[in-house]
């Protein structure tokens, strides 16, 4: 890029912004202004604005417009600005309703919104959106990209606006966006479609088209009701992935039923690749993706034809359609019968789920249809396991729309393309050859936030603001909508999507609601705000809700929609589906080298839109633990047969395409299955995310209007090369007989012995005097039964505690900085092994059918902390409230404490991550230093830092502090309010990890307070404090993970 920052000093604009946002404009002022403007009639408006509209479109280069009033979360005296106190704004990001914590005007943390009624929780990307805001690779202003010919040159909004508006008037314009859920945004696009004939195509690279089409085939346009995992006694997942991407509330529902003292649910998963969801299953059955449809159909056959359950029993055409599915390939007949029996026994409390990557196979529609049949015959898509008052229809990719768009672009029917939030050059199936189609378009304007893969083909880049800088809205489902309000003024010369679309639309002559919005304002940059506000006030807000009140909470509940009506009594069951594709694949798989490939959404990066985010790149995949890249997962036995080691390169051939990726020995894979995650191999994501891993979107094929990304016939061959995988975790297997470090048991054992699974070696007596805790003693309880291993706690901790990103080399070298990590173990089957009979090299008998357990690991704040005695500088000491404190100023860095820490949770600043090292000689000698600056300190990245937490210098040790800054803040607040600082009510202090945990597995509090949750939990028989035999006596209790082994 030829230009760095158009906007002045970032700090200066931040400062200005602080004044803007903190000095909330009184509500009445806004309304007065509105009234005045509203009194202008349309003729006046046109006279004033008409000539300016097209030209001025959006221009802020000269003057800094006032931001519109955004309203902070209601937790402080009205209108008061307290220096040094954080302010929270309710907004919505990545579909998650959140609070954004700001300090002196700059966002420093994304956390959950306690007033959120949707209970969806946050996704990993919504936590990490904070880092995207400060991403220095975002375009600082509009560019003339010139279709990637030569260097992009700076452009201005006015030129681009004029050109686009001219085109809009002429017609032949298409708008290509990502998924759009906000009602106002959708309505606005609708206006453009109606008024200007703009063609809108929404494109989602990873969606569940199979489910959508199966549902439509069977039930028409009826929306799909929301599954209630918390009401299901038995969940059978056919490649289900409801825990992979948090932020839809499934993880919360699932965890609600994982309390072994209450009614434990049972979850059986049948899948090809061990997924996060499958790892949380009570029982796992391995079968490759393309067989899942058959298996599900066989189960449906058992239920409907053999057991005659549900409304479809006795119907001849159903029986006829199911005759082909008496048995299923890949699994034993007994397994099918076991599943059918279990489902039938659970009756209306049984729930079948699909919707994972397996549904992307050619047989995906069969799978989804069979799952629908199972649900229909067991629970009728009704309470308790489905909530008909809530709809949750499967997502669709709109591949058809994108394909048609490409055709029309080639046919010159589309002469102008506006791209907003879509990146088809990167993520569309290769068959579309979208790059070629773009060549036929006369004008391409990209509204993406950087010159990404697709924007490089554009004429202009008109970057839209980050969600924290702009107005918008979102549909949270369940009749709930949320406003996306800006938290700070744009850092760069960017505008919100709504602003841009309203300005261009109105300039091109769309009237109606847009014109009404435009008539409200003097300055065009706030068009989006006024449009949004008008739309919401007219269409969404019930009487009596004030706009400011809405912004405070961030979302609004419409009247609950009518419960979804019962489905057509005789669903149309299209069983002639895709069987040919399956047969073809079975033929291919006859050969030993042939395997079927699953391409799946990466748990953190999803489809790779946030690939430039170091936090997400460095968050280990919950199962593979791979960071910074993707690998091809191979079943352990095949992996061993091929003579591979983790990281050995293999050539994966699908059709004509061959890609070379490092191999990974993936536990629990079906033998014929291989898998690669999407989301990597970006080439224009930015300095952080460029050339990380391999892009596998191109391996998809298109069949029957769907992108097939699973069950792809592939072959793998050892390449001979090697690429080190950045895996932070050491060994994968834990032998609990020898190393009782994870409390794990089964429901039947738990029933007879509530202490089952917590057994460990006894320890000797301590020579040290006991610490005295006169007031508080902070402690934590982590319920492994509830923990699903998602890693949200790690990301939240990273944001809260200013934890640097170390990069791929850092992870490979073992320099990870996570204060909180989630360990993933495969439990070795109990057996009395002899001396020397170790399981740590992950033998096949452990990893082929793994029992997975997740264990969040952080500083245990030991009573007898081994780190404290060995530090010669007294830099780590015990506080009077039970914290193991690390004093950075005093630490000189012997690393003795880290050696002596049995949990290895102490992190060392091997380099100066917090200051850019620019010395020419040393950066030449150690290129790593440049990478550290890219990852942590480039541009204005450090504005993300939490001012309450010290930024550590190189050479000092650091570790989890139990969020001591939050403890001290709460105590200080108690003092200010005249309360007893030593008797904070339970729940006052909430650590970042606890707040972020979507399943409430983490409970923090005062162990001395007998009424606190944490002290109750740590006294239950399930509580286990690790390493009794070493005698460290941690302050953290792990509660047994109880697997439901009921048959």
């Amino acid at each position: 890029m030829s230009r760095k920052h158009l906007s002045p000093e970032p700090q200066a604009s931040i400062g200005a912004l602080a004044i803007q946002n903190d000095g909330d404009v009184p509500a009445d002022l806004v309304t007065t202004e509105e009234r005045v403007v509203a009194e202008m009639d349309r003729r006046d408006f046109l006279r004033v604005g008409g000539t300016l509209a097209a030209a001025a479109a959006i221009s802020t280069a000269a003057c800094q417009p006032p931001t519109e009033t955004s309203v902070p979360f209601n937790e402080r005296p009205e209108g008061l600005r307290t220096h040094g106190k954080p302010k929270h704004y309710a907004t919505v990001v990545d579909g998650s309703p959140v609070l954004v914590r700001t300090r002196e005007g700059r966002p420093i943390l994304v956390t959950n919104n306690p007033d959120d009624a949707s209970h969806r929780g946050l996704s990993l990307r919504s936590h990490a959106a904070l880092l995207d805001l400060y991403d220095p690779d975002r375009a600082p202003g509009p560019y003339s990209v010139r279709r990637g010919k030569g260097q992009p040159v700076a452009a201005d909004w006015q030129t681009i606006g004029t050109e686009v508006v001219g085109r809009l008037k002429k017609g032949g314009v298409a708008l290509l966006t990502g998924p759009v859920t906000g009602p106002a945004t959708r309505a606005l696009i609708g206006l453009l479609e109606e008024g200007l004939g703009v063609r809108h195509v929404g494109w989602t690279p990873i969606a569940n088209d199979a489910a959508a089409s199966a549902w439509k085939n069977a039930f028409g346009s009826t929306p799909m009701p929301r599954p209630r995992l918390d009401s299901a006694d038995l969940i059978v997942g056919f490649g289900a992935e409801f825990l992979e991407q948090q932020g839809l509330g499934f993880e919360r529902d699932f965890a609600k039923r994982r309390d072994p003292n209450a009614d434990l649910s049972r979850f059986i998963q049948i899948e090809g690749r061990l997924s996060l969801t499958g790892a949380n299953a009570d029982q796992r059955i391995r079968a490759r993706d393309s067989q899942l449809g058959h298996i599900a159909a066989a189960v449906a056959h058992s239920l409907i034809v053999k057991m005659k359950l549900g409304p479809l029993a006795g119907k001849d055409e159903v029986a006829a359609a199911l005759t082909g599915f008496v048995t299923a390939p890949g699994v034993k007949t007994e397994t099918v019968e076991m599943l059918a029996k279990a489902l039938a026994a659970a009756g209306t409390r049984a729930l079948a789920m699909a919707g994972g990557a397996a549904s992307g196979a050619a047989s995906g529609v069969l799978l989804e249809t069979a799952v629908a049949l199972i649900n229909l015959s067991l629970n009728g898509y009704d309470a308790p396991v489905f909530d008909r008052s809530l709809s949750m229809s499967p997502t669709t990719s709109n591949l058809q729309g994108l394909a048609e768009l490409a055709v029309d672009m080639r046919a010159k029917k589309i002469t102008t393309l506006i791209i907003a939030g879509a990146n088809p050059i990167y993520d569309a199936p290769a068959e579309l050859n979208f790059a070629d189609a773009l060549g036929h378009v006369e004008l391409i304007v990209s509204l993406n936030d950087r010159i990404d893969e697709t924007s490089a083909y554009a004429d202009y880049l008109a970057p839209v603001s980050h969600v924290f800088e702009s107005w918008g809205d979102a549909d949270l489902g369940s009749g709930l909508f949320a406003v996306q309000q800006p938290v700070l003024r744009p850092l760069y010369d960017t505008h919100g999507l709504l602003d841009v679309l309203v300005a261009w639309g109105s300039a091109a002559g769309v009237t109606s609601n847009i014109a009404a919005a435009k008539s409200l304002v003097k300055n065009e940059t706030t068009l989006g705000y006024h449009y949004l506000r008008r739309f919401w006030q007219t269409n969404l807000m019930r009487d009596g809700i004030e706009w400011e009140a809405l912004l405070r909470v961030g979302e609004v509940v419409l009247q609950k929609p009518e419960p979804i009506e019962i489905f057509p009594p005789e669903p149309n069951i299209p069983f002639e589906l895709d069987l040919s594709a399956l047969a073809a694949l079975n033929d291919v798989l006859e050969y030993e080298s042939a395997v079927e490939l699953q391409l799946y959404a990466h748990s953190a990066l999803l489809a790779g839109a946030a690939a430039n985010n170091g936090w997400l790149q460095e968050l280990p995949d919950p199962i593979t633990r791979i960071t910074w890249g993707n690998a091809v997962s191979i079943a352990p036995r095949r992996f061993d047969d091929l003579g591979l080691r983790n990281g050995d390169l293999v050539d994966v051939t699908v059709g004509e395409t061959t890609l070379t990726l490092p191999a990974y020995r993936h536990a629990g894979m079906a033998h014929a299955q291989i898998a690669i995650p999407f989301g990597f191999g970006r080439i224009r994501a930015g300095e952080v995310g460029n050339n990380i891993g391999t892009n596998v979107f191109g391996l998809q094929s298109i069949a029957k209007g769907r992108a097939i990304h699973s069950g792809l016939a592939a072959s793998i061959k050892k390449n001979g090369g090697h690429e080190e995988l950045a895996i932070g975790q050491g060994a994968d297997v834990v032998d609990r007989v020898r190393r009782p470090i994870v409390p794990l048991t089964t429901a039947s054992e738990f029933k007879s012995n509530p202490k089952a699974g917590t057994e460990q070696f006894s320890g000797g007596a301590s020579a040290w005097p006991k610490h005295e805790y006169k007031n508080q003693r902070w402690g934590m309880a982590i319920d492994l039964s509830r923990c699903i291993g998602c890693g949200q706690c790690s990301i939240a901790c990273q944001a809260e505690n200013n934890i640097p990103v170390v990069g791929k080399k850092g992870i490979i070298d073992g320099r990870e900085m996570w204060w909180m990590r989630v360990d993933r173990y495969y439990d070795a089957p109990k057996k009395a092994g002899g001396w020397g009979d170790d399981v740590y090299d992950a033998p096949l008998e452990v990893v082929e059918e793994p029992v997975t357990v997740f264990e969040p690991m952080l500083c245990q704040h030991c009573e007898n902390a081994p780190c404290e005695t060995v530090c010669p500088f007294n830099a780590t000491i015990h506080s009077e409230d039970g914290l193991n404190q690390q004093i950075y100023n005093r630490c000189v860095g012997t690393r003795y404490c880290a050696n002596n820490c049995p949990f290895k949770v102490r992190r060392y600043n091997w380099f100066e991550y917090s200051k850019p090292k620019t010395h020419r000689f040393f950066t030449m000698l150690f290129p790593e230093l440049k990478r550290h600056a890219v990852l942590n300190t480039r541009g204005q990245m450090q504005l993300k830092n939490n001012p309450e937490v010290t930024v550590r210098i190189r050479g000092v040790m650091e570790k989890c502090s139990f969020c001591v800054q939050r403890i001290r803040e709460c105590r200080a607040e108690a003092i200010r309010q005249g309360k007893d600082k030593n008797a904070l009510p339970d729940g006052t202090v909430i650590t970042a990890c606890m707040a972020a945990c979507p399943t409430e597995a983490i409970v923090f509090g005062d162990l001395n307070d007998t009424s606190s949750r944490v002290s109750a939990l740590s006294k239950t028989p399930r509580a286990m404090r690790l390493l009794d035999s070493v005698g460290v006596q941690p302050s953290i209790s792990y509660l047994t993970k109880v697997r439901n082994d009921k048959v």
Partner: protein, 485 residues
Amino acid sequence: MTRSSPYATVFDDSQLTGRPIVLPGSGPFGGDEEIDEPWVTGGKRYVDIDRDVCAHTEQFPTRRWWIAFGVALCLLGLLVFSLVSLAFVGVGIVGPNSPVGWGTFIVNFVFWIGIGHAGTLISAVLFLFRQKWRTGINRSAEAMTLFAVACAGIFPIIHLGRLWFAYWLVPIPNGRGPLWINFNSALSWDIFAISTYGLVSAVFWYVGLLPDLATVRDRATHPWRKKLYNVLSFGWNGSNRAWRHYESAYLILAAFATPLVFSVHTIVSFDFATSIVPGWHTTIFPPYFVIGAIFSGFAMVITLMTIMRNVFNLKNYITINHMEAMAKIIMLTGMLVGFAYATEFFMAWYSGSEWEGFIFRNRAFGPYGWSYFIMFSCNALIPQLFWFKRLRRNPAVLFIIAILVNVGMWFERYVIVITSLHRDFLPSSWGMFKMTFFDWSILLGSFGLFFTLFLLFVRFLPAIAMSEVKGIMDPKVAKTIVREN
């Protein structure tokens, strides 16, 4: 030749057998008398010693010396460059990581401290035990001790993350809080142990040097040289009184230094033994470390003496019998070290502790099994060759085995530090350790520092304790004119 001086006919190593000389009928009761073979050969007179030893400080250094010094200086330069990089960029440039928080710096530290042990043992312990053969080698062995301690001393400092605050480790009253050290930590004990050891060794060495410095002074022709060595020898006048004081002081210092031989490495072993890391947390460490230190120290002395014998033509003073005596000590300590290895394994099994058991299985058969193999074969097996007298008396074999022992002892510390840390309690935190370029350059650089100092020592100071060697010579030979000219 008279019967009473059988030494006069021994001119070089080839006439030495390593067995006592049997003098029939000269025993106190008329039987055979067995006396040691001479510790100085070549029929040297007292004056020859002065000439042979001091000559190296008096003439322009030889070409060989310059080559050796050049190489040592290059390595020292590499050390300086590496340390500047380290100070500027951070500890990240060397291998340690999580979980292996200590890397080659601590390995080198323990290695060099161990090397330093032989010097004091030879000077003090063997002095107290009246072992005459110590006189030929004690000066250089002591010098070796000092330089090894100097090398060792840099490692605990450079391995700190913020080495510019290393002085915070010294418990002196201060205005930084006041910031006081944690006396519970074995690292703070190290400070006392090493500084005491360094200081006492230096004093002991220097006191021993005084008469010889006076000899150099007396031989000096240039007035400035005379003045300089006069100052260095504290004006030693060789009077009876001076000798009496000197001998008492030397005896007291020897008594003082003797416990240090055992205490220093005991305390260094506490760095490991007082932790809870499996593989470190063992009570065998103090004796095991001390024995290992003596073992490696003697190996280093053999290495240096082999070079000195040849380069400076001192074969008459450092005879093959000296070398054999050291080889015997190496064999003994090598077996003790091997016994310690076996004991460790036995205890790991006998304790029934899984943590302990695993770490030892992992040491020998895990990913670092190769380092255990090097350690075990070099330290416990190869010295067994010294059962053969012929091999004990073969300088080439001695030299090779001594170097192998030093390699083995470096790897012993590598095994202890790295393999214990790389797989401890939680399998999730296991990791591997890789040496970077800077790990190697600093290791080699420390040898550069050591040899630079040693080469300067042999250039400027008498490398053999002349006064002590004179004391063990047969006066009948030393005072007689055996050869003309």
